[in-house]
Symmetry: C2
Subunit: 201 residues, 2 copies
């Protein structure tokens, strides 16, 4: 069994995609727990509906050290193989990243290294790019700079605004993130020393 | 007639693409002059072969002010509508850019704003992106940051190195640059105040 912890802060649409494409499928990949830093995260409701263990670690109730200590304990209690950040909007410390070295992935709504950080789709619209997309990458100590596992390009049309571009990109996020998780679970992803990522033959 | 000045520093493959797709076609777009800063630029040979006026302004013989003064004089002597940087590897001053405001375009071998500057393909390979591409943009005072006219995405395969990626991207540069020039010549490109570029309906 390949066990996932999914961390989410929001509506949980990427969580739902992982549930639909992996958790409910006949394979050896299962979501062992869903953790949110936000009280109102719909992701927690989704986890509940599918009887997946879920945890709220309310970021407003703890300082960062306390928060991460609880997060680490929760993850360790589930014997996790991969931590998936699926719309998780809290920055993880270097300590956390070291604790789960090369075992954390994130989905970001741009073609990194373009438009890291928050509101990537808005950044793309404001810059006036004609192509944006999404990126699945390993998480390292700096935000949105880790080794890239998969990317998908999305055309930006003249009529697009932040909302319409976000919607288009999200559709591909829902494909790309489960694809990347499946490749990792199958042992097909090789993280090279030069920080490139290749598919094993 | 829509008159182009093409500035090139190297082998001139983008110049050749403009000649094939625009200069030799039945339209109102013509290359009025080719200018190089490099003595050995094959681009000058190509211009000669097609009987296009060509100029060498050897960057090693003049300081930057002298160089640009000669460049401006040469361009002005040809009543140019658009200056096309086609593999032109010399940075233009703010004065030059102001002199030909919104009338200079460049082709860059990455999906800007990712990987500006020299060796964009090498930067992309070293970063480990899965998608790169090329960008046609207006030239402003900062290198590779001007309003984007057109972009094309190119997949980076695990086996790609700088040479193979450059070759793949170049193929699309040869499409994208003539397409952008044609749209501008047809008056179909609108450079908006918010620095985005849209196609006129």
């Amino acid at each position: 069994m390949f066990r996932l912890a999914v961390l989410a802060s929001g509506r949980g649409s990427n969580l739902q995609a992982i549930i639909n494409k992996l958790h409910l499928s006949k394979n050896n990949i299962k979501i062992s727990c869903v953790i949110s830093n936000k009280k109102m995260a719909i992701a927690l409701e989704i986890a509940k509906n599918y009887e997946i263990p879920f945890y709220l670690i309310d970021e407003n109730r703890y300082n960062n050290d306390e928060y991460e200590e609880m997060l680490i304990k929760t993850i360790n209690s589930h014997d996790i193989d991969l931590i998936v950040l699926a719309g998780y909007l809290k920055i993880l410390s270097a300590k956390f990243v070291n604790t789960f070295k090369d075992s954390i992935i994130n989905i970001h709504p741009s073609l990194l290294p373009a438009f890291p950080g928050l509101d990537a789709q808005k950044q793309a619209i404001n810059y006036g790019v004609k192509i944006s997309g999404c990126t699945v990458h390993y998480v390292n100590k700096k935000v949105d700079t880790g080794p890239i596992i998969k990317q998908k390009a999305v055309k930006v049309e003249d009529k697009d605004d932040e909302a319409s571009l976000s919607k288009k990109i999200l559709k591909y996020e829902h494909q790309l993130l489960p694809e990347a998780i499946e490749l990792i679970a199958q042992g097909k992803i090789k993280l090279n020393k030069d920080r490139t990522v290749t598919i094993k033959e």
